[in-house]
């Protein structure tokens, strides 16, 4: 017969979880949590933007996107620590190489999976493998340590009455919204942008107009990976980064895209902000270790009951 197990708790953090939070939360704490959540959500939108393009518009389930965000963060770290380049500038500089990387990755995906007809199983496993390989390569080249960047605005806050806005959250928020706005303008105004929108709606019609859908998709996928470079620089401004951190964002980013409605940028932004606010409040008032689970709490009911999301087409 098996003997009884003996369980031991190593660390003694037996403090009553509720004891501290029994009192009424003070309103300025709630306001601060909500504002912090909005800023956090703005950053989530930068991560989710690439997935909104790749998955929402091109139907490419790029699970490895967060790994490219982390790769962007490490590239920013290298540029910042060796040349002293500002993290945001570094992120923008990296968009070029990342764009090319994205185009190449799409070419590979297209030749191996898309052109062979529908192969969702292999395609998903392919991107999962890329996620994993990127992570291990980062560990092998840059080490498994946490890295961070230097900039004048990191560690400084803007104080508005009882409201505290740290610049390390405010700057990413502004950059993220700017990037979202710029891409939205590009997609609706320029010829190429409209072709990208067209390829997400009707591939055949685009072909009949004499535009190659594969070329347009490669371009769009390149753009989606390029946004990961910027998102990576924002990530490393917000918090120190280590290679496996990307996984935490897969659930969040896909939840934001699905909740927002596939292919809708503004829906995705709203969803990201809702996600950010909820996470911030739960972390502040309850326990930060629950934060990663919140995305799932949004994702599952959305998939089950409202698959069109907030502002999107039905799946």
């Amino acid at each position: 017969m098996t003997q009884p197990l003996r369980l031991a708790h190593a660390a003694g953090h037996e403090k009553n979880k509720w004891g501290d939070y029994d009192r009424m939360p003070d309103p300025s704490a709630i306001l601060n949590a909500v504002v912090a959540g909005v800023l956090l959500g703005g950053f989530y939108a930068a991560v989710a933007l690439g997935i909104a393009i790749a998955f929402g518009m091109l139907d490419i389930p790029n699970l490895s996107h967060p790994a490219f965000v982390v790769m962007g963060a490490f590239a920013t770290w290298v540029l910042n620590s060796t040349f002293g380049i500002d993290p945001i500038v570094a992120g923008l500089l990296m968009t070029g190489p990342f764009f090319i990387l994205g185009v190449l990755l799409y070419r590979l995906y297209h030749t191996c999976f898309e052109s062979r007809g529908e192969a969702p199983l292999q395609g998903l496993a392919f991107f999962f493998g890329i996620l994993f390989i990127t992570e291990v390569v980062l560990v092998l080249t840059a080490g498994a340590d946490y890295r961070s960047v230097q900039a004048d605005y990191i560690g400084v806050s803007l104080n508005l009455g009882s409201l505290t806005l740290p610049f390390r959250m405010l700057v990413p928020f502004v950059v993220s919204i700017a990037m979202l706005f710029a891409l939205q303008q590009f997609l609706t105004r320029s010829f190429t942008g409209r072709a990208i929108l067209a390829v997400s709606q009707d591939k055949l019609a685009l072909q009949l107009m004499g535009v190659s859908p594969t070329r347009i998709k490669a371009l769009a996928f390149g753009i989606s990976i390029a946004t990961a470079a910027v998102a990576g620089s924002l990530l490393i401004i917000i918090q120190p980064v280590e290679p496996s951190i990307g996984r935490d964002f897969i659930g969040r980013a896909f939840a934001a895209v699905v909740l927002g409605g596939m292919g809708s940028f503004w829906g995705m932004l709203i969803a990201s902000i809702i996600l950010g606010i909820t996470e911030s409040i739960v972390s502040d008032m309850w326990n930060p270790s629950w934060a990663p689970a919140i995305a799932f709490g949004f994702l599952l009911p959305t998939l089950a009951f409202r698959s069109g999301g907030l502002l999107g087409r039905k799946l």
Partner: protein
């Protein structure tokens, strides 16, 4: 392989394993053997849904760790024998599979996959906050010295896993050759056409998800005794998910033998790489092999052997 031959082989394998076990005195052989068998079981379980129906489950770690933690919790409460814990772990994971499946299987497969990915994250958060089973700091499990059948406890764990692995492969093979299996492959090839020709797609997908989840939970239940110390980061290790997907893809997804071949090959490669290179490199090898196989040989080793045979004719 005919039915009779398959069952005879399976029975023979269990008996040889047992006899060999009686002869071996080196404990390491049991540890290594257990690890191979555990992956055969996990890969076979994954393949029932992933290989036959084409629905990719990224949440192996969730089902597997749930089995392990149910077994930790139940053992703390009642000190039950291992087979009971295995059944309990299987039931718990099967129920989670049923719930997940009924919420997400109506949509395209990719949404199911994303939901399973998120499931792994959320269940890790739940376990991390569950103080009864050790929470974030982990649980120490006292492994009994002797197994109930004589011999060391690790030897007993090895036999248990051997029986489960053989049974799972037999189950997968039975499913593959039954009406259910044909229905599942119809779903994989063209779900719309399958639905139109009267295949009860949702019911079959749910069945496959529950079967697959149950087997994964059963695979996890003996884990606490095997590792003796279990904490969330190791129970939910991404390596489980990657390996479980890589093994059927490398071996070949359409048949029961594929995951078995893949599991043996990849575990041997990893054990070798762990000793000769480093543990980070061995994960890289798995990732590269997986991506290499799906891009260059989508039907895995089984497919390569098949095309070689056909070429010779």
């Amino acid at each position: 392989m005919s039915n009779l031959r398959f069952w005879a082989c399976g029975l023979l394998l269990v008996l040889t394993g047992w006899l060999l076990g009686r002869l071996v005195s080196n404990e390491y052989a049991f540890f290594a053997g257990y690890s191979v068998l555990q992956y055969i079981l996990l890969a076979t379980a994954w393949n029932i849904l992933g290989g036959y129906a084409g629905y990719v489950n990224f949440g192996t770690a969730a089902f597997f760790a749930l089995g392990a933690y149910v077994s930790v919790a139940l053992n703390k409460m009642y000190a039950l024998p291992l087979p009971v814990l295995i059944v309990a772990g299987g039931v718990a994971s099967g129920l989670v599979g049923l719930l997940m499946g009924s919420l997400t299987l109506k949509l395209r497969g990719v949404f199911f996959s994303i939901a399973t990915l998120a499931l792994a994250i959320v269940s890790q958060a739940v376990i991390t906050n569950w103080e009864y089973v050790g929470g974030a700091s982990g649980a120490y499990v006292l492994r009994p010295r002797m197994g109930p059948l004589g011999g060391s406890y690790i030897e007993y764990l090895f036999y248990t896993m051997l029986v489960m692995a053989v049974a799972a492969v037999a189950l997968a093979r039975t499913i593959e050759r039954s009406k259910v299996g044909y229905g599942l492959s119809a779903i994989r090839d063209d779900e719309l056409a399958a639905e139109a020709s009267g295949v009860p797609t949702l019911k079959l997908k749910l069945l496959a998800t529950v079967a697959s989840g149950t087997l994964m939970g059963m695979a996890g239940a003996p884990l606490p005794f095997y590792v003796a110390y279990l904490d969330p980061p190791s129970a939910f290790n991404l390596a489980y998910a990657v390996n479980t997907i890589a093994m059927p893809l490398v071996g070949g997804t359409g048949t029961w033998i594929g995951p078995v071949l893949g599991a043996i090959l990849l575990t041997v490669v990893q054990e070798t790489a762990m000793v000769t290179i480093s543990s980070a490199a061995n994960l890289l090898i798995v990732g590269l092999l997986m991506v290499g196989f799906i891009t260059l040989a989508p039907n895995g080793i089984v497919g390569m052997v098949r095309s070689l045979r056909e070429g010779r004719k």
